[in-house]
């Protein structure tokens, strides 16, 4: 997925259909567009409320040809619709010359195109993952439409994960009185809050690995019921992992010594381990950390005082100008333990029991109160 760079600062958004399509019933359009918004609200805490008049966040219009924004529509086929990113107002325009249809193989499916355009209205750019909703091409009506993992990761990178699970309709059952708290303090981990690696899974969950064990993180600390054994959750994967990341194809890569493993969810994705030199040409063995930076989709590897930038779409994937000194990342120390771009868009570096939050815009460690580095135990692991 790719983020355009802007997002809404609020989660309760309003919209208005200022101009309906000429060949569809208004009530049907209301329903389809509400469904298209719910594609995104199913996975985040965003809400979308339709208004009939007055100021709204997202205005929707069905127009033909030149319609006042300097980007004229081209009639049937070609361009179907366009939408503006949050920084430009979030409005969505649809070409009324298309044959918009509902639940039909004929024409162009309104729901699917609207869901795509609203992705732009929320801050997503086009994805180069073919199966993603945010891929730019219309591939026909899909009666079993489901949001791709790539889209889920993208929207959650902007707005976080849904705090109350109600995906698939209905709300989550109330927890029984004796249900364990979602977060728990792990005394052993709090006593020694250094870990081997941290990464986001394809579903947006954040995991830390330490020795043979792993923990899932919640907003408040570590989830209860952990630690668990790495070897049970990811069969075939050893302990003491050096680095890990989940790429935008939804696959998770683990690195240890001179080898790497690829998993699709928690299933090994082929014949692994393989040599790092084979799959990640130009990247050294015995890494300290790795992360995928959503700003450009490239993979960053860290070892000692150096870092490498890996672009799988380029040949060679590592430019001759690498490695570069980690000191280019102003304020980040050498010999880090782990690194992660978290779902809030910030990049975090961990070393010992401390962490640093890196500001991608200022390209330096954030100045904040309390200052960085901060305690990993307190801020990440929920230790008192």
């Amino acid at each position: 997925y790719a983020l355009q760079g802007s997002r809404w600062r609020i989660k309760n958004l309003t919209y208005r259909i200022a101009k309906y399509p000429s060949r569809l019933n208004h009530a049907d359009v209301d329903l389809e567009l509400a469904k298209a918004f719910s594609v995104w609200s199913d996975y985040t805490d965003l809400t979308f409320t339709q208004k009939r008049s007055g100021q709204v966040h997202i205005e929707i219009r069905f127009e033909t040809g030149e319609h006042g924004d300097g980007d004229p529509f081209d009639g049937p086929g070609g361009t179907l619709a366009h939408a503006y990113f949050p920084v430009y107002g979030g409005d969505a325009h649809f070409d009324d010359a298309e044959t918009w249809t509902i639940n039909s193989k004929r024409g162009t499916n309104l729901f699917q195109v609207a869901a795509h355009e609203f992705g732009h209205s929320l801050g997503l750019s086009h994805s180069d993952v073919r199966s993603a909703l945010m891929a730019p091409f219309y591939r026909g009506y899909d009666p079993a439409f489901q949001l791709d993992q790539d889209d889920v990761q993208g929207i959650q990178a902007l707005y976080g994960r849904k705090t109350q699970t109600d995906i698939g309709g209905g709300s989550a059952p109330a927890p029984a009185p004796n249900t364990p708290r979602p977060s728990a303090e792990d005394p052993a981990l709090c006593a020694d809050p250094k870990f081997d690696t941290i990464f986001n899974g394809a579903d947006g969950s954040t995991f830390i690995f330490k020795g043979e064990n792993y923990w899932r993180l919640t907003e408040d600390g570590v989830a209860s019921g952990y630690p668990r054994l790495i070897s049970r959750a990811w069969p075939g994967l050893p302990g003491n992992i050096d680095a890990a990341f989940t790429y935008k194809n939804g696959k998770t890569y683990f690195f240890k010594g001179s080898k790497y493993w690829r998993y699709n969810g928690q299933k090994m994705d082929g014949d692994y381990p393989k040599d790092i030199s084979e799959g990640f040409s130009g990247i050294p063995d015995n890494l300290d950390a790795a992360l995928v930076w959503s700003g450009n989709g490239k993979i960053y590897f860290y070892k000692g005082s150096k870092f490498w930038r890996f672009d799988p779409t380029k040949r060679p994937p590592v430019k001759a100008t690498y490695p570069k000194p980690i000191s280019n990342w102003e304020g980040i120390p050498d010999n880090i333990d782990a690194a992660l771009q978290y779902t809030n868009g910030y990049t975090y570096f961990f070393k010992g029991g401390s962490y640093w939050r890196f500001n991608d815009r200022a390209f330096s460690v954030d100045t904040d109160n309390p200052a960085f580095p901060r305690s990993t135990a307190f801020w990440w692991l929920g230790c008192s």
């Binding site: 070609g78 179907l80 180069d128 091409f137 591939r139």
Partner: protein, 86 residues
């Protein structure tokens, strides 16, 4: 009628519209591309983005994808354009 018939100038317009051509490689007076290697680079970038073989050639497969109905938002941003909302 198909919106995309596959001519060179139509491909240029397509690549331009969707953000694959930098203003630097267009002649400011004619708007034509002034460097063929950069045109090939733009085709290759489009092919890479669309999951095609990155040959840099405007082959049939590439034309087929260019002819697909699609969203009008640019695939690539960063050439300094910032469309005003209205």
């Amino acid at each position: 009628a198909p919106a995309f018939e596959g001519g060179l100038s139509q491909a240029t317009m397509y690549l331009d519209k969707f953000g694959y051509l930098s203003p630097k490689i267009r002649n400011p007076t004619s708007g034509h591309i002034i460097d063929e290697s950069l045109f090939r680079k733009a085709v290759a970038e489009f092919q890479s983005f669309a999951g095609l073989n990155t040959t840099g050639e405007l082959d049939e497969e590439t034309k087929k994808v260019m002819a697909m109905p699609r969203c009008g938002v640019r695939d690539k941003v960063g050439f300094g354009e910032s469309r005003a909302k209205r």
